[in-house]
Chain length 337, copies 2
């Protein structure tokens, strides 16, 4: 692979001149420029990004450590992040933590070793020492979706509070009173917040959220299935289950199906996170939709602001309720017929 020296030799100039042409530095004569350009063309030369990074101490690369790529919500987030980063001249290296702290640390470490310019993280848990170190050592960092309390890092996330209130209003309007939730891991902010928002919304209708109506999930389908089975074993099962993410909602579908029950007739279902497939399930699922692409874009902008010396700001965008049929028929055309 041709190096800058080869180009310099071919063009009959020094490497300095070649470098200047490539970084379009003003003081290069027109003829030198054309000769260099011709040599570049002739040799098919492409600058070695590794060498460049070593010298300039910037890689023009962002790291994104995500909790679970197989979760469509995070997939979409990842895609939005890459798009915006590309628009701003950065590449993205993804790391999939699979909701595991060791994997998360593994990725953060390799990304740091590669001297990425900045790090985007949706932390799996309450924050490892490694992450602490990273921030202290000055690596630009932004949290997206989830965050870690007590760390001075900008956060880009959605606020589902109002949407959850809307959901509870919707459920109440349909006559449901015994509502249950399948929570995410308590170590994650989203795991806790969604339960809090739900409880708070219930309180407005003087409804309780007893402990046996809170399932402990881990944002994976299997945990949704297990929690649902426990709900169904209750002497008085809930009328509606609210899954705190889309994968656990999938688990609810599994469990209900396995018992030969039907949604929404036997039990209702709603989910946090809206994904394209929810339109095509049996029945279509009512969900709280996050502005996923906007979140990804905003997160990148905040991180790049930080990298390029501007002061980044935290961003919170509202989520919204999308009503479908999984909690019961919302508006029968005519009640008498």
């Amino acid at each position: 692979m041709a190096s800058i020296k080869d180009v310099a030799a071919e063009a009959g100039v020094s490497v300095a001149t070649v470098s200047r042409v490539l970084n379009d530095h003003p003081s290069v004569s027109p003829e030198a420029r054309t000769r260099v350009l011709a040599a570049v063309e002739a040799l098919g030369y492409r600058p070695n990004a590794v060498a460049r990074s070593l010298r300039t101490d910037q890689t023009h690369t962002l790291g994104l450590v995500i909790s679970d790529v197989m979760n469509p919500y995070f997939t979409e987030l990842a895609r939005a992040v890459e798009e915006e980063a590309r628009a701003l001249g950065y590449s993205v290296i993804f790391g999939n933590a699979d909701e595991r702290r060791d994997l998360q640390d593994h990725h953060v470490r390799t990304l740091l070793d590669r001297r990425i310019d900045g790090l985007l993280v949706s932390p799996t848990d309450g924050g490892s020492p490694l992450m602490l170190d990273a921030v202290r050592s000055g690596t630009p960092m932004v949290f997206v979706d989830r965050w870690i309390a007590g760390m001075d890092v900008p956060v880009v996330r959605a606020d589902g509070r109002q949407a959850v209130r809307d959901l509870v209003a919707h459920l109440h309007g349909l006559g449901h009173r015994r509502l249950a939730i399948i929570a995410g891991p308590a170590a994650t902010t989203t795991g806790r917040e969604r339960v809090d928002a739900f409880r708070e919304a219930l309180r407005a209708y003087d409804l309780e959220l007893p402990d046996d109506h809170i399932g402990q999930g881990d944002f994976q389908a299997e945990s949704g299935r297990r929690a649902t089975e426990r709900f169904l074993d209750l002497p008085e099962p809930p009328e509606v289950v609210f899954a705190a993410d889309n994968l656990m909602a999938l688990g609810v579908l599994d469990a209900v199906r396995a018992r030969g029950l039907r949604i929404p007739e036997d039990i209702g279902l709603a989910a946090f996170d809206d994904i394209p497939w929810f339109v095509h399930t049996d029945p279509p699922i009512t969900a709280v939709a996050q502005p996923t692409r906007e979140l990804g874009r905003a997160a990148v902008r905040a991180l790049v602001d930080r990298i390029e010396g501007r002061t980044p700001k935290s961003v919170t965008l509202p989520a919204r309720l999308v009503v479908r049929r999984s909690c019961g028929e919302t508006a029968p055309e005519r009640s008498t017929s």
Copy 2:
């Protein structure tokens, strides 16, 4: 950030010795080793991967350029690739081509600039000059899922021929005779192969595949929707539609639903690629399942073989049919009752 010099100073040895300890070279005295290790610990030193790569000319990084991340099939493939790569000591940088040639080239170029050790590609089209160059210049490369004819590059893919024969047998057994397919882009191998396999399987039953029963899709949901509408507008619409990937199957669902028709009563549906959600759609969808994780793993192994000087081999794994309800009830428990 501490460099190897700082460590050397702290330990009172030369940088050469530090490097030797870090790469556990045999000839280092025990005391020197412990002093260096202590210094590394004290300073929180981590080797700079950029500098190391420049010197050794290897990045221990694989590039993966994928046609469309939002397609669950590719998401799973990407995940499998990353897992296997990690197990073998490599990182992976992903590029999402979004079925666009310019984006594909963009990613290939940046990956090459970063001097990745090898490239895994599921090509979007018939092969750009850039890809040709990459191979000629000696970059280790392996095609996964799709490939480009005439290029001397190992291919790791699934063979759906038998599974498609099984599908046609299944459909024929259910009494269906007018079968249609929504094809992928003719520029992709998978786009063509699946149609060929389908046509061949039909021939075994003396069935035709007329032109107006071949929809031109592009592996995206919207194209599935449009093709379905054309099918439904036919004087004699097909009895079953076979979508050549999972996203176009989603489009079929949309279109059918929009007309107020039902699956499988009014029209049947089958898809290439099986994904978790197909179990939960209304109705569950019959699909040809690829051994996605195995494909990802095999692809990485082939690439790493090539990188490390062994001769890689192409791999073809069989796909298999998963029958669900979207083409009609397969085995009524008892026909009389």
